[in-house]
Symmetry: C2
Subunit: 135 residues, 2 copies
DNA sequence: GAAGGTAGTTGCAAATTGCAAGTGAAATAG
DNA sequence: CTATTTCACTTGCAATTTGCAACTACCTTC
């Protein structure tokens, strides 16, 4: 694929999106941050998806490099780091909501909590703002 | 990653999304179908991203298996196949528009045509419908 | 300063990708 | 009816990436 440092790189928005989160593991990490309250390295490891520790480390580093998340010493327990979304990362919430809506509509096995699905349909803009405000 | 045929598979909408298009090449194929009028195998190969023919074949097959695109003999030139989006595939347009909006907002190098960006901001629902209608 | 918790790194086999060349089926040309 | 071309792949193989398991380094607490 044409890379960001290549001469052939142009300003295509989908290609930029593909570089950032056109990767299944990154998508799942973002999900855990946005919707499951994951904050620490161990949270992502234990999220049940079976991500390997080396892959997790590489993805967290990439997302940090891209300015999507931040890594800081946890004030409560200074042996560990806390990961959090930047403004740029929080701005991905509407994309995640669209994905959820699509999966709910087209995959029979997908199940979104009823109340959540209702809010998603009714006013996804305010739902997005509410989720971002809680991050 | 937990696979769709695994006992541990649950109805998580983001995981379903990740399986389908949490893949950079698939995203670019969908972009070419939706916004660049690509229809034939050669169109995707020549899209300038440098996708290898074996990778293209595997992704087209996967997207077809997932019910996102269809493959039919081209009526005008029966030596080739025409690829097209199913309803399920067309329903991905709003997700792609969200990605475009996000890239335009957060990546300085990304450039979306001004008129397109304006419509995206003003009423993305009707822009999505317009794009789908033209597919 | 030893023990425990946390976030990684390292080594290696297996799977996937990327590249280039080859194949097969259908139209078209002679 | 045979030869050529076009199109859509498939195959073989080296290089990269992933997945798995074990190991390390850094704080903090005791």
């Amino acid at each position: 694929m044409v890379t960001k440092t290549s001469d052939e790189w142009s300003g295509c928005p989908i290609r930029y999106g593909a570089v950032i989160f056109g990767d299944a593991w990154s998508l799942l990490i973002l999900r855990d941050l946005m919707f499951k309250g994951a904050r620490y390295y161990a949270d992502f490891l234990k999220a049940g998806e079976g991500i390997a520790t080396n892959i997790l480390a590489s993805r967290l580093a990439r997302l940090e490099d891209e300015g999507i998340l931040t890594k800081t010493r946890d004030p409560e327990n200074r042996t560990r780091y806390a990961y959090g979304l930047t403004e740029k990362g929080k701005a991905l919430v509407p994309i995640m909501l669209e994905i959820m809506d699509w999966s709910e509509a087209w995959d029979p096995q997908t199940e979104v909590p009823t109340e959540f699905a209702r809010e998603l349909r009714r006013d996804r803009g305010s739902l997005a703002r509410k989720i971002i405000a809680e991050l």
